[in-house]
Structure formats: structure tokens, C-alpha cells
Amino acid sequence: MNSDHHIILRAVSKMLIPLIILYAFYVQFHGDFGPGGGFQAGIIIAVGIILYALIFGVPAAMRAVPPVFTRSLAAVGVIIYAGVGFWALFSGGNFLEYQALFHEPPGEHHGQHIGIMVIEIGVLCGVAGAMLTIFYAFAGRVAEIRDKDW
């Protein structure tokens, strides 16, 4: 942070990181219609934050997205996914049977759409949290990557 010979990298990545996160949400919510889904979107969000960590240093990234938060996010993702299963169970269907979410007859697809959207959000949280946890576990051991190390 004290040296400024990475100023171009910093300026460019400052512009790119919001676009990367926005693209992740596009991938997330467009997964029903095109390639993509929660898994890819989670990775893309994680990669955006990792880019921030690589450019601005791991401590800065840990202040923005604390490790405790990423760990909890991974667990919350799995809970969301499994929660949809139990929601269907308590609505009178089988585990993860989206048709039962709103007691719909076959042919209506509201439950399918909502169910898949919620589980994709669960996948997004789980994958992004787990990937960032893995990254922090590795990167937290090397405080700052100096130019000499490459």
C-alpha cells in the first residue's frame, strides 16, 4: 500500500470489481434461461473479492469481507438449500419436491421457478463462502505478496 508502482492495476481493478460482481448476479438470475447458475455466480463473486485481495492486500479484503462472514455464509448457503427441501416436506410433498411448495397441480410452474431460484441462492452463498474461506486460509499465512516473491 505504501508503494504506488501498482497504480495502473489498482485503477483498473477498482473499475472492474463492481462489473465482475454485477456480472455474477446476471449469471445467477439468468441461469434459468442461459448458461450459468449459482455455482458459477458464486465462483465469480469469490474471484472478484480475491482480485481485490490480490491488488489491495489481504488485510484490506479481510476488513471488507471478514473471514467469520465467509465461513458463516458457506454454512448459511447449505441451510438455505436444505431449507427448501424441508419447506417442501412440511407442505406435504417429498424432500425438494418444488411442485408441493405452493400446492400446485402438475402443469403450473410457480413452485419450480421459486424453488430453483431459492436453491440457486443457497448454492451461490455456499460456493462463494467456501471459496473465500479456502482463499483466506491460504492467503492469511502470507501477509503480503512482495514483487520479489514472483
Binding site: 488485510p59 425438494l96 455456499g126 479456502i134 492469511g140 514483487d147
Partner: protein, 212 residues
């Protein structure tokens, strides 16, 4: 692209080019000793294979390969590389002869087996006549979701995807437990102030000189 024969020749050329690049990159990974170069080349390998998946119309797989293979695993390998030395240990002259023979024999067997594979996109192949065709036929009436990949992943195979999400979660948990929540020292230092407690930090800052 109006002429189908011309399009086929173009596709074949693209295939040969991409697979040739993959071959060269794989050979370089086997030869190079610098770990940093190997990590970067494995990212290149993933990116080129992602492009090749697009050529064979597996867009979802290509997307995942580009995100996971080229993005995520490269970064994790970089982080792992920083914890170890920078070059591969040199090994003995003939120590690699046995593995090379095994690899060559396996390659010959795979090429021999690939003769029996159905052609790409063959409508009578088992892939296109079995359960895949059924999914394509019943998907719209069952789920009303245009992307069959999503409906198979989320709806028909919802249990599998729940398992995969759990596996990813367990992987993150396992790494965090094995590395002893390695961020704890950093997190403490962030709370106390902006100084880093590592021994390196006590050295005089001479980044500009070292960069040369």
C-alpha cells in the same frame, strides 16, 4: 458459413488449433521447473479447454471450467505456492522412465478405445437416445424452465446438487480446519491496528529496489 462443408473444415481447423495448444501447454507444464510458471500455464490450459468446450457446444461446462479452472484453482494454487519453495526439486535421470511408459501405454489404449466412440452429435448414440432425450421431451411440461441444464441440476437432480453444495462447504471447512484458521493472526492485527505482525514487516521496506 453458408456452405456446410466449408463450415466443417473451419471447425476442424479450430479443433486442431485448440487441441494443439493444449498439447503444447501440457508438454511445457511437464518440462518447466518454476512453480509460478506451472501454475500460470495450468490456468492457460483451463482457459483453452474452456474455449474448446464452447466449440463442442458444452457452454455450461465451458463456463464452469473458465470460472473454476482458470480463476479459482489458479488463485488457490498460487496461495499454496507462496507457502512452499519456488522451483520443483530436480529428480534423477531415469526416475521418470517408468511413469512415462505407463502414460504412453494408457494413451495408446485410450486412442484404441476412441475408435469405437460414436461421432460427436450422432443422434443414434446412447447419450442422445436414452435419458437425455427423455429430459428434453418432458422438461417443458414438468418445470417450464427453458434451460434444461438448470432444470436437471435443480429439479430432477436436486439431491445431487444439495450433495455437491455440501461437498463444497465441507471442502472449505476442511481447509480452514487443516490450516488452523490461518487468518486469525491477521484478523487480530486488523482489529488492533493496521500494522502486520509478521517478521517480514520488521525488515526495512525496500520493495522498489527488489523489483528490478
Amino acid at each position: 458459413m453458408s456452405d456446410p462443408v466449408q463450415a466443417d473444415i473451419g471447425l476442424a481447423l479450430v479443433n486442431i488449433l485448440l487441441l494443439g495448444i493444449l498439447f503444447v501447454v501440457a508438454l511445457s507444464i511437464a518440462r518447466i521447473r518454476s512453480l509460478f510458471a506451472i501454475v500460470m500455464l495450468s490456468g492457460v490450459y483451463s482457459l483453452v479447454s474452456a474455449v474448446w468446450y464452447v466449440v463442442v457446444d458444452a457452454v455450461d461446462v465451458a463456463f464452469t471450467e473458465a470460472a473454476v479452472g482458470a480463476g479459482m484453482s489458479t488463485v488457490v494454487l498460487l496461495g499454496a505456492m507462496l507457502l512452499t519453495s519456488r522451483t520443483v526439486k530436480p529428480d534423477k535421470k531415469f526416475a521418470r522412465l517408468g511413469p512415462a511408459l505407463v502414460v504412453i501405454a494408457t494413451g495408446i489404449m485410450l486412442i484404441y478405445a476412441s475408435v469405437d466412440l460414436p461421432a460427436l452429435g450422432d443422434p443414434t448414440s446412447p447419450v442422445n437416445t436414452g435419458v437425455g432425450l427423455t429430459y428434453l421431451q418432458v422438461n417443458w411440461a414438468d418445470t417450464g424452465i427453458p434451460n434444461v441444464v438448470t432444470s436437471v441440476l435443480g429439479s430432477y437432480r436436486g439431491y445431487d446438487t444439495l450433495g455437491e453444495t455440501s461437498v463444497v462447504f465441507i471442502a472449505g471447512l476442511a481447509v480452514a480446519l487443516l490450516l488452523g484458521f490461518g487468518e486469525r493472526s491477521l484478523a487480530d492485527s486488523i482489529r488492533k491496528g493496521d500494522r502486520l505482525p509478521t517478521p517480514r514487516e520488521s525488515e526495512p521496506a525496500k520493495d522498489e529496489d527488489d523489483a528490478s
